[in-house]
């Protein structure tokens, strides 16, 4: 019984989410920020390329 109540509390807590409106509104704000602060161009790094290649092999 007690464990059941605890699990129920966990399940209910896990159901807490942003509303669709909140999610969209936040994403719109974040997209505006992304445009104002674009990503830096990626520089080629031989060491990390080789490291990735080795981990892939």
């Amino acid at each position: 019984m007690t464990n059941k109540l605890f699990s129920q509390g966990v399940k209910e807590a896990q159901r807490i989410t942003l509303t669709a409106g909140e999610k969209q509104s936040m994403l719109a704000h974040l997209n505006a920020y992304l445009k104002e602060h674009p990503a830096e161009p990626r520089k080629f790094n031989l060491f990390s390329f080789l490291k990735s290649l080795l981990s892939f092999i």
Binding site: V10, E12, I16, M26, H29, L30, Y33, S52, S55, F56
Partner: protein, 174 residues
């Protein structure tokens, strides 16, 4: 493989936002009990995530990174609230304002979740996040260790002790 063919950072950001924004928001809401503040903290967390991503920094564990940032922001907001409430008491001599800033403000969540939230928040600082991340977000001790900056052993002990304290707080030990 991922290192060789990285997605463009914007797509990467959006994918991470879709996957983890609810979890970050839930963490902030459970810790602050204030929906507006939780929204602000979630947004700030993702802004900081973008600041790292846009510099082409390699973030190995996004979830751990986001929870680390969110946790630090929550702790900062607590500090600000504490200093603000102290100032208001000193200036106006009113304890009502102090109470209005109490962290256990009611939020609109279901009773069992609310009970769980209150009990987790009533835990000592050192157990609170470890227990929350394990129980609600179902993170492994290894990942929690990254978030709270402790060893896996310390995290496992905190989860175990925290859970037994939580059972007592929720009167589930009888």
């Amino acid at each position: 493989m991922a290192g060789l063919f990285r997605r463009n950072p914007e797509d990467d950001f959006k994918k991470t936002y879709d996957a983890l924004s609810d979890a970050v928001f839930r963490f902030c809401l459970m810790r602050t009990s204030d929906r507006e503040q939780a929204l602000d903290l979630t947004q700030e967390t993702f802004l900081r995530f973008w600041n790292e991503l846009s510099k082409n920094k390699n973030i190995k564990n996004r979830r751990a990174f986001l929870f680390t940032v969110a946790r630090n922001l929550v702790i900062d907001s607590y500090r600000k609230k504490k200093s603000l409430s102290l100032e208001s008491v000193l200036v106006e001599g009113s304890e009502d304002k102090h109470e209005s800033l109490a962290f256990d403000a009611k939020i609109e969540i279901n009773s069992e979740a609310d009970n769980l939230k209150r009990s987790i928040n009533a835990l000592d600082d050192i157990y609170r996040d470890a227990v929350y991340l394990r129980c609600v977000e179902e993170m492994k001790p290894k990942e929690i260790a990254l978030v709270i900056g402790q060893s896996v052993n310390v995290v496992s002990v905190r989860i175990s002790r925290g859970l037994s304290l939580l059972r007592k707080l929720m009167h589930y030990d009888k």
